[in-house]
Amino acid sequence: MTMDDLELLRRFEPIIHFTRGEHFFPMDADRYVGESSLWEARPEQPPVCLVPETKLTLAKLVEPRPAPHGTVHYLRFVESLTPLEAARFLAKHRRAFRRSRGRLARVGLASRIIDALFSITLILRGRVPGGTAAAAADVYQRLQAKAEQYVYYGRAVRSGPGSFIGLQYWFFYPMNDWRSGFYGVNDHEADWEHVTVYLAEDLTPQWVAYASHDFTGDDLRRRWDDPELQRVSDHPIIFAGAGSHASYFSPGEYMHEVALPFSGPLTRIFRVAEKFWRDTLRQGGLSNEEADHDRSSGVLVVPFVDYARGDGLIIGPGGAKQWQPRLLPEAHDNSLDHPQAWAHHYRGLWGLYARDPIAGENAPAGPKYNRDGSVRRSWIDPLGWAGLDKVTPPGGVAAAIAGGASAIEQRLAVAQTEIADKTTQLRALGLESEAMIDAPHFKAHHPEHLKKIAGLSEAIQQLHKQVAVDHALLEALTAYRERLAQGERLPARSHIKLAHHPTTEETEQLGRLAEAWAALSIGLLILGFIAVMLIAPRFWANGLVSLVAAISFLEALFRREAKELIQRAVVGLSLVALVVLVYEFALPLLVAGIIALGVFIIVDNLRELAG
């Protein structure tokens, strides 16, 4: 690592806009570790404290600790406060956070039922105890009061000559309190987030990618000239999610959908049925592309809002607080003397291991590692992580096009020669076949010969197809080279398939009545169903259908979606009718189908005769 890297990192260091009410900001790992204890959880055994708090240092953290497979090493930053202590702390440090219209008011009845199920899974799964976030905030505020610091850990990743240089900025937060503080998905001690700025060889910024939850690929990155990317000079602006610390390009409130655990198979079946319904039967109101954009991540999904308003503290150039950068070791620098040697040598979790089987409440591992100890893709392959591995840096485009065109020309020449050779062989085989026709003693050999002819003919056909494609590709490359030479560029957002946008103002301004209804409706549904079961248990099915229909209709009125609800309900009724008709008239329908097929064949043949 050289000073050049530090200068580069400082030149492009980001500015983070937080949401008002945020308790935790990027800090240094050494002070966090100084407050933590180190634990070891072996399979089927209670966890054991290896190093108690105040005794742990970064040097001790990286000591080798052999253990059997399945063992988890983890830190414990704080002991959770009792409910009374937590309430006292929160009363003393009241959040300035303003909650907007509830997430439940923004989604439908089905999602709210699933939300209730998700809350039940939280009881069954391991979770961070209540009062942990308050305790963490208490300790963090004490540390900041002693010495206020806002730290990022940076590294410059050079993937070789002619490639992008990736400037990675890692931010360490002592706690993710998204669930307990901001009605989000999860809480966990410790949180590692990162963004990467990609430079060309001449050190001009080209792209930037923000980590957002567990997403990867093209949608994470924006081109430097994309209007969505906000910058102050060469410093990109990040809008951090409240509590979650996920990074966004624009301020706003983002809806997230979290699939219920083990809902994958159901989602896959639903996708197949949906595709058949939409594409084959052409049913529904949206075009394919629009539907793909609107497609949620699963069937059993729970909606959550990530508040990234950017109306709170600003850290970075021009902001209220300034960064203190720390350099991470290079990819192959395994020296234990490096101040940040823990990045390579500590594979454990950076906070409480809550034994959550789906990991949402377990603390993350460090910048280099996943929770299971494997190396993160964003660390080992920052280009591939943001889908940039297939993108040629601007300085090398002309040479790459020339190289690509030359390779295609060579491939074409080879293919043409091969076509000529195979054609000669095919003609020879054709002649031999003609000669065999009137010779009875070739009866056994002739079919084999015909097979060879068919195989060779197929191979020549494939070569012709390849030549046609290569010719078209060559033309396209030449045209693209000319467009680039004239200064044209692809649109800045052409690589984005599904951009994550904040919710619209219209959605955020749902009425108070809709919000209250959203909060009450599931409870009312359950109470109403219990009442039906007590009063008229024989009619439980009718009662349930009526209750759901009444609540859905009221809901649709609140949302001014009565027409859409009627459409969905009537289509549902027609599908029930279809099932009834098939059930009642299976045999006549089969006979009618066969008769129709017979009539079709007769008509078709008669038409051919007449024609």
Partner: protein, 145 residues
């Protein structure tokens, strides 16, 4: 906009449905004509049968007339006709399914159910919705969808 090929079958189905219900109405009326005592709502034994006949006769007439009116609206490409057709078919399906699940469906109900089902699936076709301007307007974000 070019008219979708499903429009003509849709119109035929809606008018055909109207004709079917009006025929049912005529048949019920004929039935009543054969047994005029049913029209009297005689409390001495025929009250229930009489009421049922009045209800069905009236229902067939209303459904038949509504089908014809909606068919005219659909033919004139009126957006309201698409919504009205959907509501009408919903009502027919509710009546038919209620009869089926309460075990008093006869062949006329199955025929009504089948026709209504086909009409709903035709109305729900994406192109038909666009034709009658019944499709949803996608929301635009600041940077497009």
């Amino acid at each position: 906009m070019k008219r979708h090929r499903a429009r003509l079958p849709l119109l035929l189905l809606v008018f055909g449905q109207g004709a079917m219900f009006l025929t049912y109405f005529a048949l019920y009326l004929f039935n009543v004509g054969m047994r005029p005592e049913l029209m009297m709502l005689d409390p001495r034994g025929h009250l229930q049968a009489g009421l049922s006949l009045w209800f069905f006769t009236g229902t067939w007439l209303v459904l038949g007339a509504a089908s014809v009116i909606i068919g005219v609206g659909l033919r004139r490409m009126r957006p309201w006709a698409w919504t009205a057709a959907l509501i009408l078919e919903g009502a027919i399906l509710i009546l038919a399914l209620e009869a089926y699940f309460n075990r008093h469906a006869d062949p006329s109900f199955y025929a009504a159910m089948a026709v209504a089902m086909v009409i709903v699936l035709a109305l729900n076709q994406r192109e038909v919705q666009i034709l009658y301007r019944a499709h949803y307007t996608p929301l635009e974000g600041p940077f497009g969808r």
